[in-house]
């Protein structure tokens, strides 16, 4: 990773927007941060819309947490962090899918117990890997809270390819998944493979969590995965409009957050989360008065 941080650019906000933006984009690390932030915001908003609809936010959180041992293990054995992120998130998704098979468990409370167990275990593993690899304190912070300004060109390409693949899968199964999510019995009677769709969606969620955790860090994934979708679902009950709105909110929050991080040298994870959270508060107030 490039040892470049926003602080070393030493920028100052001038209120001349065009000049400010030109200044910001004169640094390749900022351009990459915006590229990655946009890709991830779009993917996370679309996947997050389904996740909120399916009430699987707890599973989503656990899959994001799995990014932490993934990155830590990759650092420990000296391979690319990207492999660690995707490997651990997808593996955790598979574990949750297998362990919460309906033949084994009944009801959602049982599924959430499985999810919680997995979450505790992956967090503990992450801590173990980080401890085994001495002197990773700054790395640990990045893994938990994000390090947007060290994204390389290769990473941007990987993020883009994975995002396209996941979105393509969603485009194919999206309508069936919507049906299965809100009306499983009828969908099943119509020949929709509800069970297989559930497994597929967990893997999709794992991939999205792995992507998002590279931007916001494992603990702040919800800024891009939940908040835009939750805001959008509050604002409209139309499915397509809701997904589009979630994408817009996610992209705006991530652009605004990155800009704020660049000019203030506050951590980018905090900035992105703050903008998403502000949107959430605004829409709750607006929703309460309407």
């Amino acid at each position: 990773m490039m040892p470049v941080t926003a602080g070393s650019a030493n920028p100052s906000w001038s209120w001349n927007l065009a000049a400010d933006i030109r200044d910001m984009f004169s640094y390749p690390f900022m351009v990459n941060a915006f590229r990655a932030g946009t890709i991830v915001a779009i993917l996370a908003a679309v996947v997050g819309w389904y996740m909120v609809l399916r009430k699987q936010t707890f599973a989503g959180h656990t899959l994001s947490v799995a990014a932490f041992p993934g990155a830590a293990a990759a650092t420990l054995i000296g391979i690319s962090a990207t492999i660690g992120y995707f490997g651990f998130c997808l593996a955790a998704a598979a574990v949750i899918a297998v362990a919460s098979r309906p033949e084994r468990l009944r009801g959602f409370s049982a599924e959430s117990a499985v999810v919680g167990t997995v979450q505790a275990f992956v967090l503990a593993s992450g801590y173990l890997f980080a401890t085994l690899y001495n002197g990773v304190l700054s790395g640990l912070n990045d893994q938990l809270f994000g390090f947007t300004f060290g994204i390389t060109n290769d990473q941007v390409v990987t993020l883009g390819v994975v995002a396209l693949a996941v979105l393509a899968v969603l485009a194919v199964i999206g309508r069936r998944l919507f049906f299965a999510s809100i009306d499983g019995d009828v969908a099943g009677a119509r020949g929709v493979g509800v069970r297989l769709l559930g497994v597929t969606f967990l893997l999709v969620l794992g991939a999205a969590a792995a992507e998002a955790s590279q931007i916001t860090g494992a603990l702040l994934v919800f800024a891009l995965l939940v908040m835009p979708a939750a805001i959008a679902q509050r604002m409209t009950a139309r499915p397509l409009a809701g997904i589009a709105l979630a994408v817009v909110i996610g992209v705006v929050a991530s652009w605004a957050g990155l800009t704020m991080a660049y000019y203030t040298s506050y951590p980018s994870g905090f900035c992105i989360t703050s903008f998403a959270f502000a949107g959430f508060i605004a829409v709750r107030r607006f929703g309460a008065s309407a």
Partner: protein
Amino acid sequence: MAPVPEPAIQLRDAAVRVGDRVLWHDVNVEVPAGQFVAILGPNGVGKSTLLKAVLGLVPLAAGEAIVLGQPAGAANHDVGYLPQRRSFEPSLRVRGIDIVRLGLDGDRFGLSLPWSTKNREAGRRVREVIARVDATAFAARPIGEVSGGEQQRLLIAQALVREPRLLMLDEPLDSLDLPNQSAIAELIRRVSVDSGVTVLMVAHDVNPILPYLDQVIYLAGGGAVCGTPAEVITSETLTALYHTPIEVLRTSDGRLVVVGGPEAPAHHADRHTGEPRR
């Protein structure tokens, strides 16, 4: 209405096993096309399972099931199914119209472009069926925010949107208040008469639908009796079916009350005590 010559549903010596328990056996049922038929019986006797067997979702342990001239499950594109509800959570932010639309093409792969002709045609069909069940006024609201009776209308619209030849409803009157029960019962009858669709409906209480029924299938004691309500809901028939003394009483306003039997309470207070799902 042009009745199809073949019966809509035929069960011959059918039996269903759940685990190692035989739920019912030697069931012979023939439902002529266009009829309004109710499945009655005490809790846990396998009424919902009978619907699922007709859908081909539960395999028969013996006998055969012919639905719309084909083996059970093969003609499901012509069957509208409304499972036991299943009310939507108040927090569900999905419009009724979207729920109805799922009945039309929710099982398709891929996206439909909002501006395509196919999509406009689908929208027209959805609006039409919503108007047929008098749900236009609330179809654009999130389904979690409308009343139970309104949800039920939208769900019936969902089951009807593909213009099925057979409509199967599992306790559609459950958890509705009395005025809504009779309104929905009347709606189902109207749909059946107007479009000649065969209706097979599981009911806990026969009284709201009694005036409209052509036939009843009464399940009890592991077997079934079919016939008109006047033939089947009598003390003699039910006593023979249950193998225990049963009395059918008629109240002054024409309602039927079934009294006696190990599992047939006169008052249906035990309705949620664990009817097996399959």
